[in-house]
């Protein structure tokens, strides 16, 4: 595979090496330019209802798309996020952040423009291809593109650095949701729903925004260190050695962290998607639909804030200890949720879920630094890309656990207010599994360490797999 480390002109890694005197505080905004844009994915649902009325306008016509058909757009995008981050991780790492950000910008904007065309000729397959496939690839490449760069600039605070970027992914929906609604209102007429025009505008705006990130991003020179930086004293759980991306897959550490992330994400996704319905069913008469929408907004804020707060905290607590906190606190809170329902404590319920969601976001934001501690900085972006398959798996487990167990309980005459109890205890049990896996994480065996820029377990073997 062409690595992009030589040639490539303006996009090459060499051309992005910062000159002496460049402030590292320019790099987080560059990363945020990308993450704030691709974070729009969380807000895609604002288009679902308008897209069911593109023909009928005031109400759905027989030829209009169904919500179930539209649901596949987001699912495809998340699926291709996992696939592309796993497949292109090494290319992103070796080609440098500018090339990756530019590619993500082209795919993201291209996805919106193809989708706009799909809306204009009413062809759903084009939207699957545009937003689902191309947009999903942009999500994967864009998500991992600034991760290792940030950690190289902030070796003293890697958790905080990646926390800032990944916070942007959580915050992107806050901008996209009201912006999309405003744009659609501007383009709506009595005979036309302005989804197509909104897609075109968003595609152009996001392209410009992401290109700004691509222009200002820099990687540090090989010998660069922050002023006054002293490497941390000997710590078995912070490796000074690098592990080649495909060798990381052969270590138990990778798979243990995979399970830990999957557990944390399953627990978060499960309640995030169902919080509105769950809160209304557990507190009938106390939480109205409008209040439930407010709860979802509040949880989103905690999701975003948790990304920065927990990842920053991990710089002081240590990555493994931070995940111990997630697993222990998660277990306690999930056990408490049915109790809050039983005693009718809305405040207790809201507090439990807000902390759980903060840890869901915190898990995403802390994991790049955890991987860096285990496998070094050299291929951490690519390894992170492979680990994101845990997210895809959790995207299936979480909603299935919540929805199907609730449905089973309801059909077996369990009152709706109590239908979530079993799920909450199963989630708590998952945290026990996560705690055990986290406990088993030890330093990576020295035989996996790279030697002189070559993979430890044989370059030919690795190249064949690449």
């Amino acid at each position: 595979m062409e690595t992009g480390s030589g040639g490539g002109g303006w996009f090459s890694r060499e051309r992005t090496v910062a000159k002496p005197g460049f402030s590292r505080w320019m790099v987080p905004p560059a990363a945020l330019c990308v993450h704030l844009c691709i974070g729009q994915a969380y807000a895609f649902s604002v288009f679902n209802l308008p897209m069911t009325k593109l023909i009928g306008i005031s109400e759905s016509a027989p030829d209009d798309w169904k919500l179930t058909e539209l649901g596949w757009i987001f699912s495809l995008a998340i699926f291709f996020l996992g696939v592309s981050s796993a497949l292109f991780g090494r290319w992103v790492e070796e080609g440098g952040p500018r090339r990756a950000m530019f590619t993500a910008a082209c795919c993201w904007a291209g996805g919106f423009l193809i989708s706009a065309f799909g809306v204009s000729i009413h062809n759903l397959w084009l939207i699957y291809l545009g937003y689902g496939v191309l947009g999903g690839i942009a999500l994967g490449i864009g998500y991992i593109s600034p991760v290792s760069t940030l950690m190289k600039w902030f070796p003293d605070r890697p958790g905080m650095a990646t926390g800032m970027a990944i916070m942007g992914f959580g915050g992107g929906a806050f901008i996209a949701s009201p912006l999309s609604v405003w744009l659609m209102n501007r383009f709506n007429t009595e005979t036309h729903i302005g989804v197509m025009e909104t897609f075109v505008v968003l595609g152009i705006v996001y392209f410009v925004f992401m290109m700004v990130g691509s222009i200002i991003v820099r990687v540090p020179a090989a010998d660069w260190k922050p002023e006054g930086y002293v490497a941390p004293r000997e710590n078995k759980l912070i490796s000074k050695n690098d592990v080649y991306v495909y060798d990381a897959l052969k270590t138990p550490q990778f798979w243990l962290i995979w399970v830990v992330l999957c557990v944390n994400t399953t627990a978060g996704i499960g309640v995030l998607g169902q919080a509105s319905a769950m809160s209304q069913e557990m507190f009938p008469g106390q939480i109205t639909p409008i209040a439930a929408a407010g709860l979802v907004g509040l949880m989103s804020l905690f999701n975003m804030g948790g990304r920065f707060a927990w990842a920053t905290t991990s710089d002081y607590l240590g990555r493994r200890n931070t995940y111990f906190v997630f697993m222990t606190l998660g277990f306690i809170l999930y056990c408490l949720v049915p109790y809050t329902g039983a005693i009718g404590s809305v405040a207790g319920f809201v507090l439990c879920f807000c902390i759980i969601i903060s840890m869901y976001g915190g898990g995403f934001a802390t994991v790049p630094a955890y991987l860096r501690d285990m496998f070094g900085t050299r291929y951490v972006g690519a390894i992170h890309g492979l680990l994101l398959t845990a997210w895809s798996a959790a995207g299936i487990f979480g909603p299935v656990l919540v929805n199907y167990i609730r449905q089973y309980n309801v059909t077996h005459d369990v009152p709706k207010a109590q239908a979530y109890g079993t799920t909450m205890y199963i989630m708590a049990g998952l945290f026990v599994l996560g705690f055990i896996c986290n406990f088993l994480v030890k330093a990576v065996d020295a035989r996996f360490h790279m030697k002189n820029e070559t993979p430890a377990l044989g370059a030919a073997d690795a190249a064949a797999k690449a």
């Binding site: 000159k19 002496p20 402030s23 806050f174 901008i175 996209a176 407010g294 907004g297």
Partner: protein
């Protein structure tokens, strides 16, 4: 080589870069907070 010259990042550049991402983010958070207030009404 490009990276052998010295450069200085000015405060203005930092303000512009952070403002570019910070202003939309703060606006988005504010809009979400307005919606969130419904929970407490």
């Amino acid at each position: 080589m490009e990276n052998t010259n010295r450069t200085t990042t000015t405060t203005l550049q930092l303000v512009l870069a952070w403002g570019f991402v910070g202003i939309p983010l703060v606006w988005g958070v504010f809009q979400t907070l307005l919606n969130t207030l419904q929970l407490f009404q």
